[in-house]
Amino acid sequence: MTDKPAGMTLIIKTVCRLLVGLILLYGIYIILHGHLSPGGGFGGGVVLALGLLAVLLAYGREETLKWLRLGLLKDLEHASPLVFLLIGLAGTAWGGAFLANILSKGRLFALLSSGLILPLNVVIGLKVGLSLFLVVLAMAEFDLDKGAEE
């Protein structure tokens, strides 16, 4: 476990490097089209997390953390519920009820046709994706060989 190089073989690393952008793009597509087609914040967020997890599995923890800034991810993950709350309170202030729509509804079937749902989907996607990724990352930090030290 210690003398092996971190991560999997070169084939897996190369395929992962080629695919991770497409996976993340697909996740973003699902999040942005959540109000038009099946999907939305949760499904797209899970796809985002799976893209990041592919990198984590292929490259190991150290390389992944060099590529991603963990502090930024944690801050985003903690800030997203707050943004959701602020959007909801904006609905209270200008729309009359919590999460009431305050944006233009646009034309039917257009991308910007859902008012507040699109920003809410983005916030939920960030929250779900980053939470899932951070949960697995936290579990990867457990050292099974450490034993009962207390």
């Binding site: 038009l36 087609s37 099946p38 949760f42 079937f109 779900v128 899932l132 949960v135 936290a138 579990m139 457990f142 050292d143 099974l144 450490k146 034993g147 009962a148």
Partner: protein, 112 residues
């Protein structure tokens, strides 16, 4: 009716695993199966024969649709289940660090 019975059978499979298995990982998987059976049951409650997914699209007539309410409920339930599974897995890892085993019959020392 058969489908509901099959859902219940799936739930019983999970319950059987939860009660009889000794391996912690198998117990976590069993609790997941129980949750999936419940989710399946809830989605089936909202099913209508011949219904399509409840999303209006360009150029589609409004026809019979399945009930979206149980689906929204199940989405929430899946998220909660995910959290519970993650918590159980973290507890299993901590137990393995302490006892060097996943066998619950060997985990019997109740000291902090």
């Amino acid at each position: 009716m058969t489908l509901y019975a099959l859902c219940f059978a799936l739930f019983l499979v999970g319950l059987y695993g939860l009660l009889t298995k000794r391996d912690l990982i198998k117990i976590i998987l069993s609790s997941g199966i129980m949750g999936y059976a419940c989710n399946l049951m809830l989605v089936l409650f909202g099913y209508r024969r011949g219904g399509v997914y409840p999303i209006l699209e360009r150029g589609r007539e409004a026809g019979p649709m399945v009930d979206p309410l149980p689906q929204a409920l199940v989405l929430t339930s899946i998220v909660i289940e995910l959290g519970v599974t993650a918590l159980l897995a973290a507890l299993a890892i901590r137990l393995f660090q302490k006892y060097r085993t996943y066998d619950i019959t060997k985990i019997r020392r109740l000291s902090g």
